[in-house]
């Protein structure tokens, strides 16, 4: 763990010294207009190119609404958006470039640039609902080619607010990012990223994530607030030869109709050396904390310390799957999750949210947390310490039932090729934790509380080796015996210690 702390300290030092003071250019001096009507794409682009070619500096947007299509940020240029200023999409899909290298549309691109930033307390507004619907309209008319997956334009054909690819020294500070047409902000194969004090308000259309970090090295995300239709803080690995590593996430608050802190789903290379601490999630439909090694990637050396999630559909879901591995062996190991408090509601946590998460995998009673590997690919060395999970309980066997007989337990499918999601197995035989194909599981001071009697066991272990449960507390009203050993059910498992 000391190694991780050392890496993080180094990271912070690198990031804080990355920027020298540079000249400020008022956007108006380039003829850019904040009248809400003028489409400024060409003038903003000229300004960026000019500043980059003249020693760098900040392009400053003062109070006003500045409409634009796609622009490319260049080295040593920071877009500084002052309070009261909004950089706003035109809502016309044809004002946006589908970049040939990254095969995606975005409002602000940067590719192969160094020292780039977007700062200031202003707003970037993608007007995504209108842009996406305009795009759908053109697709239906046959003017734009797209196969319309689930009656929506495919994700690369809906502009993101920000897409940076292979950039070095990226600073995203203070801004508010609103309503993209798809993903919100993606940093792909970048090095040295600081995201500090941003606000995300992105509930305009499907796939509105809070932030996506793909195959990046040295990333700090902190002091930020996210309200997103899809995953809030999301790390991905698209390239099997790359990895997302040396990551610090701290002091963030999020609300989501998908997941809170998510690593995956696309996980070809993997995730390494991660510290996530002091995070709060609320009204979140899926998991507060979830890691996936679904596509042959390696997930290792992870510390999650300090998560509070209320009205959140699931606490923790760790999953190895085998979707697009192409023979690569998935690995998930050395994970510490500690100081976590989660309240799981009986109802739908994101009810009433625009773009509510879809109700899936029914019938099932409230799903437990999960640590689920695959046969031959166990999840290894996971420690859970100082955890309190509050469940509604009340699982109704007449609605859905998977009991503890060998037939029922063996009947739970492995689903290696399915999308990894806490609810994917439908009904499970546990209300607190379902752990399958794992080796080296340590629970210490874990409190599981069901508010009503549940027909299921609190914890079910299936094909688990070397697990210890100490200082555990499992509370469930109405159970005849109050014996811990009666609440933790090992099956086909070895060396299980329950104290």
């Amino acid at each position: 763990m000391r190694k991780i702390q050392w890496i993080i300290t180094g990271l912070l030092v690198c990031l804080s010294t990355g920027f020298a003071l540079a000249k400020d250019y008022d956007a108006h001096t380039f003829g850019v207009r904040g009248d809400g009507i003028t489409v400024n794409t060409a003038s903003i682009q000229y300004a960026i190119d000019y500043i980059s070619g003249h020693g760098g500096g900040r392009l400053v947007f003062t109070v006003g609404t500045y409409r634009t299509g796609s622009i490319y940020l260049k080295s040593d240029v920071t877009l500084h958006i002052e309070p009261g200023a909004t950089l706003m999409s035109t809502t016309n899909p044809f004002d946006f470039v589908k970049d040939k290298d990254v095969n995606w549309m975005a409002m602000i691109f940067a590719k192969h640039q160094t020292n780039v930033g977007i700062t200031g307390k202003g707003v970037i507004d993608g007007r995504g609902f209108e842009t996406a619907n305009n795009m759908t309209n053109y697709i239906q008319r046959g003017v734009f080619a797209d196969s319309l997956l689930w009656d929506r334009a495919r994700e690369p054909n809906r502009p993101q607010n920000i897409y940076f690819r292979e950039c070095k020294n990226v600073t995203i500070k203070d801004i508010t990012l609103k309503d993209p047409a798809g993903w919100n902000q993606t940093y792909d194969q970048c090095v040295n990223i600081l995201v500090d004090g941003i606000k995300v308000d992105a509930k305009s259309y499907w796939n509105n994530d809070g932030i996506d970090i793909v195959d990046c090295d040295s990333v700090v995300i902190r002091n930020s607030y996210f309200d997103a239709a899809d995953d809030v803080i999301c790390f991905k690995s698209h390239d099997a030869t790359k990895i997302c590593q040396n990551i610090l996430v701290e002091n963030c608050v999020g609300r989501s109709s998908a997941n809170g802190l998510k690593f995956g789903t696309v996980s070809r290379g993997g995730f390494k050396n991660v510290v996530a601490r002091n995070l709060t999630f609320f009204d979140t439909y899926r998991s507060a904390i979830t890691f996936a090694a679904a596509d042959g990637g390696t997930v290792e050396n992870i510390v999650v310390d300090g998560v509070r999630a209320v009205n959140t559909g699931n606490a923790i879901y760790l999953r190895i799957a085998d979707r697009w591995s192409k023979g690569k062996q998935p690995v998930m190991k050395d994970i510490i999750i500690k100081n976590v408090y989660v309240e799981i509601p009986a109802g739908k946590p994101d009810a009433g949210y625009p773009y509510e998460g879809p109700v899936e995998d029914l019938p099932r009673n409230i799903s437990p947390s999960g640590i689920v590997g695959l046969p031959g690919h166990p999840i290894e060395n996971v420690t859970l310490e100082n955890i309190e999970l509050v469940y509604p309980g009340g699982g109704d066997p007449f609605y859905a039932k998977v009991g503890l007989t060998p037939e029922e337990l063996d009947g739970i499918p492995e689903m290696p090729q399915s999308y990894p999601e806490f609810s994917q197995f439908k009904e499970l035989p546990a209300w607190g934790f379902y752990i399958r194909h794992a080796d080296g599981i340590k629970f210490k001071n874990v409190i599981l509380r069901a508010e009503k009697k549940d027909y299921r066991a609190a914890i079910v272990l299936d094909d688990v080796k070397n697990a210890s449960f100490s200082e555990m507390k499992i509370e469930e009203p109405g159970k005849e015996k109050d014996d811990l050993k009666d609440k933790i059910f090992p099956y086909k498992s070895e060396n299980i210690s329950i104290k």
Partner: protein, 246 residues
Amino acid sequence: MFRIWILTVVVYFGFFPSSEAKDYNASLFGIKSDGITLNTGSIQKAVDFISEQGGGRLMFYVGRYLTGTVILKSNVTIHLEEGAVLVGVPVIYDYFHNGDFVSILYGENLENVSVTGKGVIMGNGNALLAAITEQVKNGYIQKATSSVAPGLIQLKDCKNVLLSGVILRSSLGEAIRLDKNTGITMKGITIENAGLPGAGLLLAGNSSLVVADSYFHTSGKEIIYAGKNQDVRIENTKNSTGRKLK
């Protein structure tokens, strides 16, 4: 006999390429006629799309269509119906293309390019001049103002060009600039550019050019010849004093 047949085919397909091609209305691409919406992206999409579909006419009906530079493509006709006005946006960087300032309609290395109809292309020349002057003053444009001035139609290295019927107004640069093109027909063109410095027509290194039945009213020169032009015929074309142009 065989040679005549070949010639007939060449003449037919060579000189009337778009006569049987499809018409596409501007509204199909969300192009707006309100004079406020900047249509550059949508018009460009339309031109690209029509070219990819094998060619045709992009039809503009009555209205004002604000735009910056649109890059023309082979086999695409910009057709402006009577009352349709393609209005140049008075923002200089909307004409910045590959490091240069170019015209509203710009084409390079194309075949079968046409601008037809009885509509108007207007350049907003005075407002553009003010914008350029400001940018030069701010130090963001280092070139001389005259070399930055966008015109209305600019074609380079194109084959088989037809410009017919349209009215060209308020151009800051040359209303039409033709460099090294082959096979150009201009007929019934009206250029009304008094009060602005832009010439009517700049010709540089073209071959096989006919200008017929056209009218030039300019403060600058009506026609500038630069470089060697071969086989140029100016027929029944006058300026505002009634002088036949040559």
